[in-house]
């Protein structure tokens, strides 16, 4: 809590530059050596002490409660909580004063302080979250209550300067772990559901911080906001503070954290774990969140008693309902505590603001290298402004938030440095203990980082909650170690302390294991807290539109989770501490951790099965995870920018990613330009991702590729986790982030966003709700395809669109979605095209482009193409450096365009044309690029062609379906007979033709008649001749008798002939005339047929 609140001149320590940090340290006569994290820790401690001194008198019920009252006064629960918290704070202040004295005397005291700080953070968080939680969910309340008590204790611890330092250092971690998880979870669930929650959450932390650091109030307020939002972003500080609160929550939230994502989960887990051990470690955690509050008490044995005393009072009254909110505030308070502890340790007298300013400096330094810090400033500033306006007291919170950021940074990048710093601090004296704590914190951070991995693994394996628990245990152990031991000796000392804690909390883990687990747990805690904070921040961001910052914080958390393995190597060194922590976890964890893990896992599972509320929390966590993931990405980016050694290793991965991410966020325009320009496009690492978002039409293709790409190591783990979680149960609207860093957008920054890879089931209303979380969308600018696979969303501003992309790109939503959402910017033309308002004119611009450099596939938007053409032309100019060439090209392009237009822009010819148009003079690079681009083009072409072909088909169908325009009755005349027969009058031509035919037939008939007549006449003539001959013979022969007989024969023959002729004629007459067409044709056809 204190960590978050601690601020230098109103800036969170994490956001301060190293130079600023050093300057601030100089003012306090503290050593400037060490990594940023260490510096920040020192500053925090000093600031904490200062704040405690200042606020000790005013702490009670000042800021946190007042803030809560203002914000959450709506709920009676909250009010009660506030009152209780105030009381607790007063008690805590008193106790803290005592504890500080004790802490100065003995390390054990610091532990107690830490616990207290945790409690304070939790209490603060509970107060703030309580309203929201009470409003949103009663389940979370129980957790919140437990946290609240912790928060109160934490406040008390703050006053204790020496102990506070040590404790604070540890506290932040512990606080971060426990509070962060619980609040984030609750917050997550709440925030996801309700937008307003994040703000509330932010306020509560500020309050807690304010309580801790009264003097710092103005800056703290800002920091508090920042903590809320930044807590996630800052991760370390926020997480640390939150951890204490989260410890309780961690048990409950462990599952949730896992749900969120491997990275964040791990961080949360770690956060949760650390707090638990001090309080009631594993057993309480295992027992359940409800038990957690008591757990917080136990971890620090001496302090535990105090804590217990404190806890009982605060938790019972307000915490239960409010917890989620309190958690966030708690997170901030731990930071403040840490800062205060540092401040008190070195220059307690220094005004909080000054200390804050120093912190801010240190933060700025650390932040400069760390991406999250950079991002934080924006959200922080926003938050700060809000906080300031709302509460003057929140200044402490702001200081805390910077501290939290610093802590995160330290944990992330400077953990190793912190260890070194911690050693330096040890040299300093009082600070030495704090340094030890810090170093332990750093170790914890490292461990947490490593833990997250293990957690992520475990989560991926099956139960995410189990890993979280393990981490929480570790964290607890480390806390104990921190209290009693230096960074190096922390493990052993913690082992003893842990042993106590473990005995109290958990007899399961051996001391050695505990000791090993402690550093790890600490690191995990630190990391975890960050994630926790991130989720919250993410929510707040979403609501506030600070999404990018929140993302950064989330990213940071993720990086921490990712980085852990790397850190494991540097366990001894600052840079190596993180890897060492991871290793330690692995090694030590192998004995203690492994044993713990299984038990934890069982508990989580059992809890899940037994308690439905847990599921809810998980859901909430899931929601938060995406945000965390994003934040983690940002963190990575920041880390990369910072270039810290340890963090650098972790970050480096992220850095590469981060750079694109930054470019996306900040330089989206640049990216767009790059995309536009073939040259710039090539260098970009994630072409696939770009391609994915760009092609709106190919949703399926893109989604497949995106998830694959998106699924890095962490992504895989997260996916598995998310899947598991989703299987359990999740709210529909909670997006799960599977990818840390959103790939750079492919399209130009615009207010129109294209979301692909949507997979049902989900309703358009749900989708809109999700999209509206990051901005107000233009109602008529929304378009989704029939199968709800991709949609276009128009936001009122490009910032909102960017925020949407930040929050949703690479996110798994709905949770049943096997793919990862791909979000990219697009232009109005694309939207219009899908809306049917516009048809794509890709071919024209594309074809003319000789563009060897056409890295990109032909854009759907003609404008883009034109731009590309211009770019290509520029490129050509650069290459050739000759304007004449340009002219030639222009001419060529024109010609090509003409040709294409003439052809009618056949899509399948585009490539040919391009190739033809391309100058062979293009360089090899361009060619290679062009190849890639060609591929992309082909893909896009296919995509385009598909819809077109569909259109064609539909057109055909339409034509076929078109009913005959005219009916038969309209076209033809018909007879009146029963079955009517349609007929048409002959046309003139037909009439003429018919007449001709008829005349021809007539002629033919006549001709045939003549022939017949001729034949008959011939026959007659022949007969006459024969008769004449016969008579002549008879006359000659003289024989009358013979002649008579002959005559008789002739007559017979004549008669026969005549009969024959008559018969023939008779046959002909009945039949139609020989020329009759009909009869002929009929006979012919029949003959043909048969």
């Amino acid at each position: 809590m204190a960590d978050e609140d601690i601020t230098l001149d109103g800036q969170p320590l994490q956001s301060l530059r190293v130079a600023d940090l050093k300057a601030a340290l100089e003012k306090r006569n503290l050593s400037k050596s060490g990594a940023k994290n260490k510096l920040i820790q020192r500053l925090k401690g000093a600031l904490m002490l200062e704040n405690l001194q200042k606020s000790s008198t005013s702490h009670s019920g000042l800021q946190p409660n007042s803030q809560i009252g203002e914000e959450m006064s709506q709920n009676s629960f909250i009010q009660q909580y506030l009152a209780k918290q105030q009381e607790l704070l007063r008690h805590r202040l008193e106790r803290e004063a005592q504890l500080q004295e004790e802490a100065d005397e003995s390390p054990a005291m610091p532990e107690e302080d830490e616990d207290q700080s945790d409690n304070d953070t939790s209490s603060c968080v509970s107060d703030k979250p309580n309203p929201a939680l009470a409003e949103r969910a009663g389940c979370l309340r129980g957790e919140g209550v437990s946290h609240r008590p912790d928060g109160t204790t934490g406040h008390q611890a703050a006053p204790e300067a020496p102990g506070a330092r040590m404790q604070r250092a540890t506290f932040p971690q512990g606080h971060k772990e426990p509070p962060a998880p619980s609040p984030p979870r609750a917050v997550a669930s709440l925030s996801v559901r309700v937008l307003g929650q994040p703000d509330r959450q932010g306020l509560p932390p500020a309050l807690s911080r304010a309580q801790e650091k009264e003097g710092v109030a103005p800056s703290e307020t800002g920091s508090a906001h920042s903590v809320l939002h930044l807590s996630r972003s800052a991760g370390v500080s926020a997480t640390v503070q939150q951890d204490s609160d989260e410890d309780d929550d961690d048990d409950d939230n462990s599952g949730d954290d896992e749900d969120w994502g491997p990275g964040p989960v791990g961080a949360r887990k770690g956060n949760q774990a650390p707090p638990r051990p001090p309080q009631m470690p594993a057993s309480s955690v295992r027992s359940k969140r409800k038990l957690q509050p008591p757990q917080h008490i136990p971890p620090p044995q001496p302090h535990q008693n105090l804590m217990q005393l404190r806890h009982p009072t605060p938790p019972p009254s307000p915490p239960p309902d409010l917890f989620p909110l309190p958690d966030t505030p708690k997170q901030s308070p731990p930071d403040t505590d840490d800062k205060e502890g540092e401040c008190s340790g070195a220059p307690p007298s220094i005004p909080p603001h000054t200390s804050q300013g120093r912190d801010s400096d240190s933060r700025s330094r650390s932040s400069s290298p760390e991406p999250p810090v950079k991002r934080r400033p924006g959200p922080l500033s926003l938050l700060v402004h809000k906080m300031e306006s709302e509460e003057a007291q929140t200044s402490a919170g702001t200081s805390e938030s910077p501290e939290g950021s610093e802590k995160k940074e330290n944990e992330m990048s400077d953990r190793k440095a912190e260890d070194a710093k911690a050693r330096d601090e040890e040299e300093l004296g009082e600070k030495k203990q704090a340094a030890g704590k810090k170093s332990t914190a750093g170790d914890r951070d490292l461990g947490s980082s490593s833990d997250p991995d293990s957690q992520s693994d475990s989560s991926s394996k099956s139960s995410s909650s189990s890993p979280v628990r393990v981490q929480s245990r570790h964290v607890r152990q480390p806390k104990g170690a921190e209290l009693g031991q230096d960074a190096d000796n922390e493990t052993k000392g913690t082992g003893t302390e842990k042993g106590h804690l473990l005995k109290r909390e958990m007899s399961e883990t051996s001391e050695a294991a505990v000791s090993e687990g402690e550093p790890r747990s600490e690191s995990s805690e630190a990391r975890q807290p960050a994630p926790n904070g991130e989720p919250i921040d993410g929510e707040g961001r979403l609501e506030e539109s600070t999404t990018p910052k929140a993302f950064a914080a989330r990213k940071i958390s993720l990086t921490s989770s990712k980085t852990p393995p790397v850190d494991a190597d540097g366990g001894a060194g600052d840079a190596d501490t993180g890897a060492a922590a991871g290793r330690k976890r692995r090694w030590g964890s192998s004995t203690a951790v492994t044993a713990k893990k299984p038990s934890i896992s069982i508990t989580t599972d059992s809890l899940k099965s037994l308690i439905p509320d847990i599921k809810i929390a998980q859901e909430a966590v899931v929601d938060l995870h995406p945000e965390e993931l994003q934040l983690s990405g940002d963190e990575d980016n920041k880390d990369n920018g910072q270039g810290d050694e340890d963090d650098g290793l972790k970050i480096r991965r992220t850095v590469t990613q981060v750079v694109p991410g930054d470019s996306q966020e900040n330089g989206r325009g640049d990216e767009e330009e790059d995309a536009e320009t073939a040259e710039s496009e090539i260098p970009r690492p994630p072409p696939v991702e770009q391609s994915k978002p760009i092609p709106p039409e190919k949703t399926a293709e893109k989604p497949d590729g995106d998830p694959k790409k998106a699924s890095t190591d962490d992504g895989l783990v997260r996916r598995s986790i998310s899947q598991q979680r989703s299987g359990v149960s999740i709210t529909i609207d909670d997006p799960i982030r599977s990818t840390r860093k959103p790939s750079p957008p492919r399209g130009k920054l615009s207010n129109i966003v294209h979301v692909t890879n949507l997979v049902r089931p989900f309703t358009v209303g749900q989708l809109k709700e999700l999209l509206k979380q990051t901005g107000s969308m233009v109602e008529d600018g929304f378009w989704i395809d029939k199968i709800k696979s991709h949609c276009y969303v128009t936001y009122t501003t490009t910032e909102e669109a960017a925020a949407t992309r930040e929050s949703l790109h690479g996110v798994k939503w709905p949770q049943s979605n096997p793919k990862v959402l791909s979000v990219d910017f697009c232009e109005q033309d694309e939207l219009d095209f899908h809306k049917g308002l516009l048809k794509p004119n890709h071919a024209e611009p594309q074809v003319p482009q000789p563009a060897p450099p056409p890295s990109r596939p032909p854009p759907l938007m003609p404008e883009r193409d034109r731009e590309r053409d211009r770019e290509r032309e520029r490129d050509r100019e650069h290459e050739r450096g000759a304007p004449a060439v340009r002219d030639l090209w222009a001419e060529r392009q024109r010609q090509m365009e003409r040709r294409e237009r003439a052809r009618g822009e056949r899509e399948w010819d585009r490539d040919k044309i391009r190739e033809f148009a391309r100058p062979g003079a293009d360089k090899g690079e361009r060619r290679s690029r062009s190849r890639d681009r060609d591929r992309e083009r082909e893909k896009e072409r296919r995509r385009r062609e598909r819809p077109k072909s569909k259109e064609r088909k539909t057109d055909k169908k339409e034509k076929a379906d078109e009913p005959p325009a005219k009916l038969l009755d309209d076209l033809f005349l018909k007879t009146k007979a029963a079955p009517c027969i349609y007929w048409l009058p002959l046309t003139e031509e037909q009439v003429v033709q018919k007449v001709l035919e008829r005349s021809e037939r007539q002629k033919e008939r006549e001709r045939r008649l003549k022939e017949l007549q001729d034949e008959q006449e011939k026959v007659r003539e022949e007969r006459k001749k024969e008769r004449l001959k016969a008579r002549e013979k008879e006359d000659r022969g003289g024989a009358t008798a013979s002649s008579r007989a002959a005559d008789a024969d002739r007559e017979k023959e004549r008669s026969r002939n005549k009969d024959g002729e008559r018969r023939r004629e008779g046959e002909r007459r009945p039949g139609r005339p020989p020329l009759g067409r009909r009869s002929r044709s009929c006979s012919d056809t029949r003959d043909r047929r048969h």
Binding site: L968, L971, F972, I981, C1082, R1086, R1088, R1089, H1090
Partner: protein, 153 residues
């Protein structure tokens, strides 16, 4: 030879593929007689000016395909829309020598499936205006109704 072959092909095309402008060519009245038992009507049912009672009167053109006719029939007989329903087409024309009508099978179609005879046109089967069309409809899942002995003619 080459010339002859060309000519023959052209003539065939003209006869079979001669496009018909259905808006300018009067439709012919096609009297369709259907049976739902898979067998064609008997010859004597068309004798002496008698016709079967199950008559459909379709105004169509000479380029009507069997598929087109099938779709028209299915519009009238919903039971014929079942997938797998078998349609057997035959032209019924009067025998010049006697007062008897004769059958000529021209093709088969199956609803829901593509058949080789789908694109067969009346014109290609030397259908003459005034001829009848007899369609034997066989419900699906029914054994081939026409055994060797059951030839309709």
């Amino acid at each position: 030879m080459a010339l002859e072959s060309r000519i023959t092909q052209e003539e065939i095309k003209k006869e079979t593929e001669k496009p018909i402008d259905r808006e300018k060519t009067c439709p012919l009245l096609l009297r369709v007689f259907t049976t739902n038992n898979g067998r064609h009507h008997r010859q004597d049912e068309f004798a002496r000016g008698n016709v079967p009672s199950s008559e459909l009167q379709i105004y169509t053109w000479m380029d009507a395909t069997l598929r087109e006719l099938t779709s028209l029939v299915k519009e009238v007989y919903p039971e014929a829309r079942k997938k797998g329903t078998h349609f057997s087409f035959a032209i019924v024309f009067p025998d010049l020598r006697g007062k008897v009508y004769r059958f000529k099978d021209i093709g088969n179609t199956v609803s829901g499936k593509k058949c080789a005879d789908d694109s067969m046109t009346l014109q290609s089967q030397r259908f003459q205006i005034g001829d009848y069309l007899d369609i034997a409809i066989t419900p699906p899942n029914r054994a081939q109704p026409l055994g060797p002995r059951m030839r309709p003619f």
